[in-house]
Amino acid sequence: MIKRQVFLESIAALLIMLFLYASLSKFLDFRTFIGEMNNQPFPNFLTPFLVWFIPLLEIAIVLALIVERTRLLGLYASFIVMTLFSIYAITILLHFFAYVPCSCGGVISKLTWRQHLVFNLFFVALSVTGIVLQRRKHFKTIITKNSFV
């Protein structure tokens, strides 16, 4: 039981590290991030919205993962976000767009698109494992509470 709990905490910690690092590195080099967003193959009028929405969403996920009551929500959110990033990486690799843009975001920008995809899929798998463990824990808590009633 304790082992499983530590494993769940470690999954949450890894996701927190990913999203907190990603959002902070965007804010710390905001000008470059704006340029990189403009370089992505979607309309530039979305850039003013996306440059704030993406890092703020990442911080919201971090907060949801830290607080026990909202952790399941945070795990679902990280699963959705990482799945969307993976789909985006797949569309880039399949040359769905007219050109292949640079991959961006701190040290992560050193990865190729293929490595990016593997990296994202690892965190998708981690989020799914976290969801399963957190749901199991949630149901066990409900059963334990009801058995005392």
């Binding site: 304790i2 709990q5 530590v6 905490e9 470690s10 949450a12 910690a13 890894l14 927190i16 590290m17 990913l18 907190l20 690092y21 902070l24 590195s25 710390l28 080099d29 000008r31 470059t32 704006i34 340029g35 990189e36 967003m37 403009n38 370089n39 992505q40 193959p41 979607f42 309309p43 530039n44 850039t47 830290i66 040359h95 769905f96 767009f97 007219a98 050109y99 292949v100 843009p101 640079c102 991959s103 701190g106 040290v107 698109w113």
Partner: protein
């Protein structure tokens, strides 16, 4: 258990904050005027993502002037952009 939880969380938060600051670029050539090589001369490229884009490749996309010399800045292949959507039809 709560103690272990907060130890793991604190470590994760400190590592990510420290990592973000440690990997923050100290000198960024992209803040300087960007030039591209058109085959015979270096020309001003304009604003990244607005006037030009760099497609993923190991080539030199743009250059900047350092001590009177043109040195590579952005990696990739230079291509002019109109700032609009560029989805393949």
């Amino acid at each position: 258990m709560k103690k272990i939880k907060w130890m793991i969380m604190t470590l994760a938060i400190l590592l990510s904050i420290g990592g973000a600051f440690a990997t923050r670029p100290h000198y960024d050539c992209t803040f300087n005027t960007q030039y591209y090589w058109n085959g015979s001369a270096y020309l001003q490229a304009g604003t990244f993502g607005v006037n030009f884009i760099c497609q993923d490749s190991p080539n030199s996309c743009t250059y900047t002037i350092v001590s009177g010399q043109f040195v590579q800045c952005r990696m990739g292949t230079y291509s002019p952009a109109s700032g609009g959507i560029q989805i393949k039809k």
